[in-house]
């Protein structure tokens, strides 16, 4: 359980960083504002029918940008930076394995990021529910669970990328590249794929898009997050319901998040375990 000691150290260490609390304060405030707007202007926001479940999806929209951006800020240097400064040698002079260090860093930093997520959802959920007069307990619990899963997966990706190199510069290129590719460019890439597969021509209407493009759209962690949320709030249907194929289920979001939780970290570990510090 040596990773636990590393995680505790890393957790306390990251708690002291001021940047994360500055971003978190903005995020929590934003969540409350969003909940307030949704609860106070049901006409404009939900065609007059604001519900507790509607609130959940409204709050979820705020999570993805905050978690992805903050994970990037607090974790891109987690391994590469300590390799560069040499402080990793101090840690690894003690009887910890490199695997313990990597797992400890993922758990420690994800736990720090989980704090503002829980606070924002708690306050936003309470304010919104009070204004609407409807508490969707199950949907709120699902939102919390999926958001925490997303947080751990995103931090795992960034720490995994950071473990692939001994230079902070390269770590920042890798992690920012990941962020830009999957958070900004993926929509364009998705359309590009349809364009190419359709004989360099875009289909005239949305219904003519191939079913499998749904899977492509689930690749970014943020897309998978929203889709996964639909799986746990069955009264709402996402785009998965329109697809008649074995992959036409919102649970694909859980599979994709699991992929992001595990695969980059495993590759990062593989590189890290072979590296000269």
């Amino acid at each position: 359980m040596s990773w636990l000691a590393v995680a505790k150290k890393d957790f306390k260490d990251s708690l002291r960083a001021r940047t994360i609390w500055a971003i978190s304060a903005v995020f929590i405030l934003l969540s409350v504002v969003i909940a307030y707007i949704y609860g106070s202007f049901p006409e404009e926001m939900a065609n007059g029918a604001a519900t507790g479940e509607g609130l959940v999806f409204f709050l979820a929209s705020n999570i993805t940008l905050f978690v992805s951006l903050t994970a990037l800020v607090i974790a891109y240097k987690s391994v590469a930076g300590e390799r560069e400064s040499g402080s990793l040698k101090i840690l690894l002079s003690l009887p910890h394995t490199r695997r313990d260090v990597l797992i400890g860093k993922i758990v420690g930093r994800a736990s720090v990021l989980a704090i503002p997520v829980v606070i924002a959802l708690a306050i936003g959920g309470a304010v919104g529910s009070a204004l609407i007069g409807d508490v969707a307990v199950q949907a709120l619990a699902a939102l919390l669970a999926v958001s925490l899963f997303f947080t751990f997966a995103y931090v795992s990706v960034i720490v995994g990328l950071s473990a692939m190199t001994g230079s902070t510069t390269r770590a920042s290129i890798l992690t920012i590249g990941f962020f830009v590719l999957f958070e900004f460019l993926w929509g364009i890439i998705s359309i590009g794929i349809v364009f190419v597969s359709n004989g360099f021509n875009l289909p005239q209407e949305a219904a003519a898009y191939p079913d499998w493009i749904f899977v492509v759209n689930q690749v970014p962690p943020s897309g998978a997050y929203t889709t996964f949320l639909y799986a746990l709030v069955p009264s709402r249907t996402g785009s998965a319901a329109e697809i008649d194929a074995f992959y036409g289920t919102p649970w694909i979001g859980a599979v994709v998040l699991l992929f992001w939780l595990v695969v980059p970290a495993v590759i990062g570990y593989w590189r890290f375990s072979k590296a000269d510090l």
Binding site: S2, A5, K9, D10, K12, D13, R16, A17, S85, G86, S87, K89, I90, L91, L92, S93, L94, P95, H96, T97, K274, D276, L277
Partner: protein
Amino acid sequence: MAAIDVSGVIKQFGDVTALQNLDLTVEEGEVFGFLGPNGAGKSTTIDILLDHVRPTAGSARVFGMDAHDQTVAVRELTGVLPEGYGTLGQMKGRTHVEFALEAKGARGDPDALLDRVGLDGVGHRQATDYSKGMKQRLMLAMALAGEPDLLILDEPTTGLDPNGARTMRKIVQEEADRGATVFFSSHILEQVEAVCDRVGILNQGHLAAVDTIDGLREAAGATGQVRVTMEVVPEELVGTIEGLDGVTSVSIADSTLTAGCENRAKGEIVHRCYQSGTIENVETSEASLEDLFVSYTGGGA
């Protein structure tokens, strides 16, 4: 069983060869000084013992355990003072020591360890606010946690003031008395000379010499010097002293005669000077290990 057994280790970083076929054995309970100019490969050797770096060829064992395959077991028995002046992170000094004790699975009083390295009363402060010397003392306290069988000290005195260097020597002695093996790397000869049983001189990635301090001194050839200051040094005295048994060189500067010689010739030299004039002062010295060091390392020190 040897505490450290490095055999045929080669380490290349790209085109640069850091270690060339290094063989090195440190016996249990020994205080071993690992000397060499900066860039000789001392830190690389230590990095290989701790599995921070993997050898290109050859093997390294610590207490019979492979430094790579059994690295956690090795590090459980080893206390390390790393090179440089880092800290683990944004933690208090005392928390650092607690963290080391926890990692070693050892019971121990963090405050007692802080006392021992001279950090009493500052354990509650952030380690990142410590001075260089204090950080180095803190790393020493972490290295001592859990009474390790092997202490690896990488350039342990570079950031310390004379007082701190004295504390360091005292602690090395105490650890050796407890039965620990101490592996002490340095580019400063005096530090090693004061505490070490044996010394290895590393130069350009291979071991240029291994011996006791006295052994190295003997190997240095001219084993000492005597300097006699006289009112007037008579010209003919040079020839007389040059002819004495055990004298290797004689020179005169101002009114001081300097003779390089074996220790047994020193009395006769002073006697001859006394016979031929008025002596104002006599100084004698051992052969300088510095000279020896320079001769082994080509002046790189």
